[in-house]
């Protein structure tokens, strides 16, 4: 019922009463009705009437609030379902792209191998071979990314500190020049980080990726890897004093193949942070980043210590 119609319906008894009163006045009705009411009863009746009026107002307001909440919930559900659809469609796109790129890249590499079975010896062929390898790696990365979103985690009880130390050791091994700049600190007071149920290989890959980025994008200065517990989450922070990310690119670095303008001189596909985010989300966690160009970057990975499923 619309608000106008409800008001009109509510006014009908008043209108009828007024018409009846007017008719009685015109017909010369002058008698009076005197009702004797004890004052305590009158006070009680007035109080009851006021309470009823207040109750009606409260009920009306509550109904309005519930209505608004329902609208909000419906909107949120719609948005969430839209985002899930968008992610699924994006995942399918990556899988299709991977599928369509596989055969041409295989054909290029096979043809090159047919021309020079022992490896390319001509400068032009070396370039083609190099670029084909790069494309092949990219195709593999895209496939991996598409797959990660639906791949079931292989969960084990893990010691996150051991996984972090291992990832740091791996980066130190790959980039000996950065080894002395890497330091791991772990908060153990007032309580240590509890054992997590996680996929150690994927989580290790994510942490290694972030620590590797810190080493890649900072020529010198310390790289701190800090581990702590924070309100039901295990938190890994990776901080460097490197070149940082321009403020215009901070939100874009999570997109596949996105690279900030000041990162183009460093080899890489631009898939790493998308991969890190996909892995963390698979674990019910998330990753965020703060950066100041020219000063450094801190990447924060959060993994829940208790799994919801």
């Amino acid at each position: 019922m619309s608000r106008l119609r409800a008001t009109l319906v509510a006014l009908i008894p008043l209108a009828l009463g007024l018409i009846a009163a007017a008719v009685l006045v015109m017909t010369g009705e002058r008698r009076e009705l005197v009702i004797g009411t004890p004052i305590p009863l009158l006070v009680a009746l007035v109080a009851l009437t006021l309470s009823a009026a207040v109750a009606l107002i409260v009920i009306a307001l509550r109904r309005k609030q519930i209505g608004q909440q329902r609208v909000e919930a419906a909107r949120a559900a719609g948005e969430q379902s839209g985002r899930a659809d968008e992610r699924e469609s994006h995942r399918r796109f990556l899988a299709r792209l991977d599928h369509e790129l596989k055969n041409p890249v295989t054909a290029i590499r096979a043809t090159l191998a047919g021309i020079a079975p022992a490896g390319p010896d001509d400068d032009a062929l070396v370039v083609i071979d190099g670029q084909a390898q790069r494309l092949a790696a990219l195709v593999g990365d895209l496939r991996e990314l598409a797959e990660l979103e639906t791949r079931p985690l292989e969960l084990e009880t893990i010691d996150l500190e051991a996984v972090v130390r291992d990832a740091v050791a791996a980066v130190a091994q790959q980039r000996p020049a950065a080894a002395d700049r890497l330091a791991v600190t772990v908060d153990r007071v007032p309580w240590p980080i509890p054992a997590l149920l996680a996929d150690p290989d994927l989580l290790g890959l994510a942490i290694e990726n972030v620590v590797g980025n810190a080493a890649k994008f900072s020529a010198d200065g310390p790289i701190e890897v800090r581990l702590r517990e924070d309100g039901g989450h295990a938190v890994v922070e990776v901080a460097d004093t490197g070149r940082g990310i321009p403020s215009t690119a901070v939100d874009l670095v999570w997109d596949e193949l996105a690279r900030a303008d000041n990162a183009r001189d460093v080899p890489g596909s631009g898939i790493g942070l998308s991969l890190v985010r996909a892995i963390l989300r698979q674990h019910g966690g998330d990753v965020s980043l703060r950066s100041v160009e020219g000063s450094g970057t801190v990447v924060t990975l959060r993994v829940p210590t208790q799994r919801g499923d």
């Binding site: 991977d98 599928h99 790129l101 596989k102 055969n103 041409p104 890249v105 295989t106 054909a107 290029i108 590499r109 096979a110 043809t111 090159l112 191998a113 047919g114 021309i115 079975p117 490896g119 390898q133 494309l135 092949a136 790696a137 195709v139 593999g140 990365d141 496939r143 991996e144 797959e147 791949r151 292989e154 084990e156 291992d166 990832a167 791996a170 790959q174 150690p200 290989d201 290790g204 890959l205 290694e208 990726n209 590797g212």
Partner: protein, 239 residues
């Protein structure tokens, strides 16, 4: 069957750009190559002359790669087959082996990697004999692996292994005596092509060694080829 110096190879793929390039490469690498455009043509080619080895794409019109393997095995032919898979997921890869293929490579692959796979499969296969990859149970000394139940025993005591370690053990035992690079193991079993994460492989090998009581300095089962990768050194047979 041709002479051992120039083994015959049947290359099956519906993409001519691939068969032309790869065919030329394999010819120049010492193989007598025949080409088929799909599984049905490949079945006809095998009926005409059984090749020493077949390299076969999975996604093809008419008879696809998996169906080709099933039909060949159903005919009781055990010539080695390498599948060129198009899918990344690890269960799909192990499915390729479960269906009776001897090995698989994920597209896009390095042609040199295909060549080394082809040579390794030819080395370990005995003409007319079923490959280890078709066995339900494998044995190596006191170590027994039930491949379909994904369980393992050492001297009759069941081993507690993570699913990934069992998968790695399965891969090692179906490829005995072969050197596997960390990258290859990572890509074959984990589906990762991120070279930076090969430590995952080292961890699982360490887990296997711990559970098997295998001393890395004097290994019975898994030996480390310094900076190259790992090799399952013990003899493996059907159990």
């Amino acid at each position: 069957m041709t002479d051992a110096a120039r083994p015959s190879l049947l290359l099956v793929d519906d993409d001519q750009a691939i068969t032309a390039g790869l065919g030329a490469f394999l010819e120049r690498s010492g193989f007598d190559v025949r080409i088929a455009g799909n599984g049905a043509e490949a079945l006809a080619a095998v009926a005409k002359a059984v090749p020493d080895i077949t390299v076969c794409d999975v996604v093809m019109p008419e008879v696809d790669g998996r169906e080709f393997v099933r039909r060949i095995r159903a005919e009781g032919r055990w010539m080695p087959i390498i599948l060129l898979t198009n899918v990344g997921e690890s269960y799909e890869r192990s499915a390729a082996l479960d269906e009776g293929a001897d090995d698989y490579l994920n597209k896009p692959f390095d042609p040199q990697e295909l060549l080394s796979r082809v040579r390794a499969v030819l080395r370990r296969s005995v003409p007319g004999e079923q490959p280890l990859s078709t066995a339900e149970r494998l044995r190596s000394g006191g170590l027994v692996l039930d491949r379909s139940a994904r369980r393992a025993w050492l001297d009759d005591t069941e081993l507690t292994l993570t699913p990934k370690a069992i998968m790695l053990l399965d891969y090692f035992m179906t490829h005995p005596g072969e050197l596997h690079s960390r990258d290859r193991l990572l890509s074959a079993l984990w589906g990762f092509d991120f070279a930076s994460s090969t430590r995952a492989v080292d961890h699982r090998v360490a887990e296997l060694r711990r559970v098997l009581g295998d001393d890395p300095a004097d290994p019975v089962f898994i030996e480390t080829a310094q900076s190259l990768g790992y090799r399952f050194r013990a003899t493996v047979e059907r159990a």
